[in-house]
């Protein structure tokens, strides 16, 4: 290398350190509500710095294609980010994730064209293609399930484990062949791509909708690891640092989600939820209630906790829930929103929806905070949540969700359950809560039900 080139390379790597600093600091600030917005901005500036300084690199010979491609990507990204409704956020995160994963796959692919790759480099190229491919198709399947383009339940078939095992062995074999004989025209290379894409589909289809928070955060982690592997493939430090930061962050979130369901990651990934239905059958009488009576109870209450679930997102009921909350507060009642870590379809899903409806975040409280004082809650209003408030998780050892920590709404003085009908929840598990002595069922669309309670308040 000529001296100017070395100096330029040093400038680029030095600037990458600044970018890495901005990412790290940005992520740290994202962890506190007060500073989160600035943290995200900081991390975006880090990205801009990294991109701009990379454009100076001596390796880049032509800019024409790059600029066109960058503009196309930026416009698509900006438009979708702007237009999508807050309720479809899980799908959108899955799609963005998928496009990042596919980008890493393609970067790995392109790296195979450069000459003189060591075996270690080819191995990392293989990893970039594998993880990128799994992230891409896995995210697509997750998107399909979340947006209900395809059935959102677990898709399980008899020989699934055998098929996956064979697939994994085949991947290891073609990966090894590629490392021994790296060539972009060999059939092994194309087999790596195809098998990786197929593997991504196979790992996500057996996972049911209620387990989606785990899958989304795991795929998020994968997209970071794919970028990291691509970084090894092209010897680029910023890819490795940023990619592994995201990889680790995603794993932590995945772990939090798994703990919130009292299941191991392996259990989520390999056993279709609801496949075993041996739980004790619950029988009893449900006590329906009408909006007028619900209003009378709420009006007399001095402490109300809303417990939202995925059903609130489906019914788009977050705004009316906030309105009811404000009416109750004006009535001298203490209102809180108790949110289970895995309520909804992605980590923090309910928090985002309630924030959209202008609920201040200090009113959103976590499971560990509400449970010790649940006895003092006059009315717990369960809106479209099921498994996360199912007492069977606490009491029935035969229940598939036994051991999962829940919000103990059944211990509140009164429980209202807003529910469309008596169908069982996503996991297909019966819920004894519905038959409890202190439970009243408010049947119908959650949004319509709450609106009629609000109407009662206003008359």
């Amino acid at each position: 290398m000529i001296p100017e080139d070395i100096a330029l390379q040093q400038l680029i790597n030095g600037t990458y350190i600044i970018a890495a600093f901005l990412f790290i600091f940005g992520l740290k600030m994202l962890g506190k509500p007060d500073t989160a917005k600035r943290g995200n901005l900081l991390s975006a500036i880090g990205m801009l710095v990294a991109i701009v300084v990379t454009l100076l690199a001596r390796e880049i010979l032509s800019y024409q294609w790059i600029i066109m491609a960058a503009i196309v990507g930026a416009v698509i990204g900006a438009l979708t980010a702007r237009m999508v409704a807050m309720t479809s956020m899980p799908e959108l995160v899955a799609l963005f994730n998928g496009s990042g994963g596919l980008a890493s796959l393609v970067v790995g692919w392109a790296a195979l064209y450069s000459t003189g790759n060591s075996t270690f480099t080819v191995f990392t190229i293989f990893l970039a293609i594998l993880i990128g491919g799994v992230t891409f198709t896995g995210s697509l399947v997750a998107w399909g399930k979340l947006s209900e383009v395809m059935p959102s339940g677990a898709i399980v078939f008899g020989a699934q484990r055998i098929v996956n095992g064979i697939l994994l062995l085949a991947l290891i074999y073609v990966g090894a062949m590629l490392c021994l004989n790296p060539s972009t025209s060999s059939p092994e290379f194309y087999a790596v791509i195809v098998l990786s894409l197929l593997f991504g589909v196979m790992v996500v289809i057996p996972i049911g909708g209620a387990d989606m928070p785990v899958v989304i955060s795991l795929l998020n982690s994968y997209s970071g690891l794919a970028a990291c592997a691509a970084g090894f493939a092209i010897n680029n430090i910023i890819l490795i640092v940023a990619g592994s930061l995201v990889g680790a962050a995603g794993l932590i979130l995945t772990n939090i989600m798994c703990k919130a369901m009292n299941r191991s990651l392996a259990n989520v990934l390999f056993s279709g939820f609801g496949a075993v239905k041996t739980a004790t059958k619950v029988e009893g009488e449900v006590k329906p209630i009408v909006a007028e009576d619900a209003f009378l109870i709420l009006e007399a209450a001095s402490n109300v906790a809303f417990v939202p679930g995925y059903g609130m997102a489906v019914a788009q009921a977050q705004h009316v829930v906030r309105e009811l909350g404000e009416l109750l507060e004006a009535n001298g009642c203490e209102v809180s929103y108790a949110i289970h870590p895995v309520a909804g379809r992605m980590p923090g899903h309910m928090n985002v929806l309630l924030a959209e409806a202008n609920v201040p975040y200090d009113q959103l409280i976590e499971m560990d905070e509400i449970n010790p004082r649940i006895e003092n809650v006059d009315v717990a209003v369960v809106i479209g949540a099921n498994d996360v408030v199912n007492p069977a998780a606490r009491e029935d050892e035969n229940s598939p969700i036994y051991g999962m920590p829940i919000i103990n709404v059944d211990k509140a003085r009164t429980v209202f359950v807003l529910k469309r009908s008596m169908a069982s929840g996503f996991s297909g598990v019966d819920n004894p809560l519905f038959f409890g002595d202190n439970t009243r069922m408010l049947f119908g669309d959650a949004k319509a039900s709450i609106s009629s309670v609000i109407a009662e308040f206003k008359t």
């Binding site: 930026a74 980008a103 970067v107 979130l253």
Partner: protein, 102 residues
């Protein structure tokens, strides 16, 4: 040696990632995830290098495709995170009705 050096960096970054995220409140899980997702679009840097590298036409074309895909991830990810975070508000105190909400 290079491989060892890079792996060393990998290990430290992973530990750093664990430390950074471990104590984040549940309220911020979604923005955190989508913000991290945007960072994973860093692969755009690799895409830029391969798009302009002149290792041949196919490599350049692949690079350009990767640039577009990664840019969707980067721009979309940051913008949507920003949009979400703009909605998170503290309870307004009665005397601070104008401004100072954040």
């Amino acid at each position: 040696m290079e491989a060892v050096f890079l792996t060393f960096i990998l290990m430290l970054s992973i530990f750093l990632g664990f430390e950074l995220i471990a104590k984040v409140p549940a309220t911020l899980h979604t923005p955190l995830m989508s913000g991290a997702n945007a960072i994973s679009g860093i692969t755009v840097v690799g895409a830029l290098l391969s798009a302009g590298s002149g290792h041949g036409e196919i490599s350049g074309l692949l690079g350009a495709v990767a640039v577009a895909l990664a840019m969707i991830n980067v721009v979309g990810g940051y913008m949507v995170t920003d949009r979400m975070l703009a909605m998170f508000k503290k309870k307004e105190t009665p005397d601070a009705s104008t401004g100072g909400k954040r």
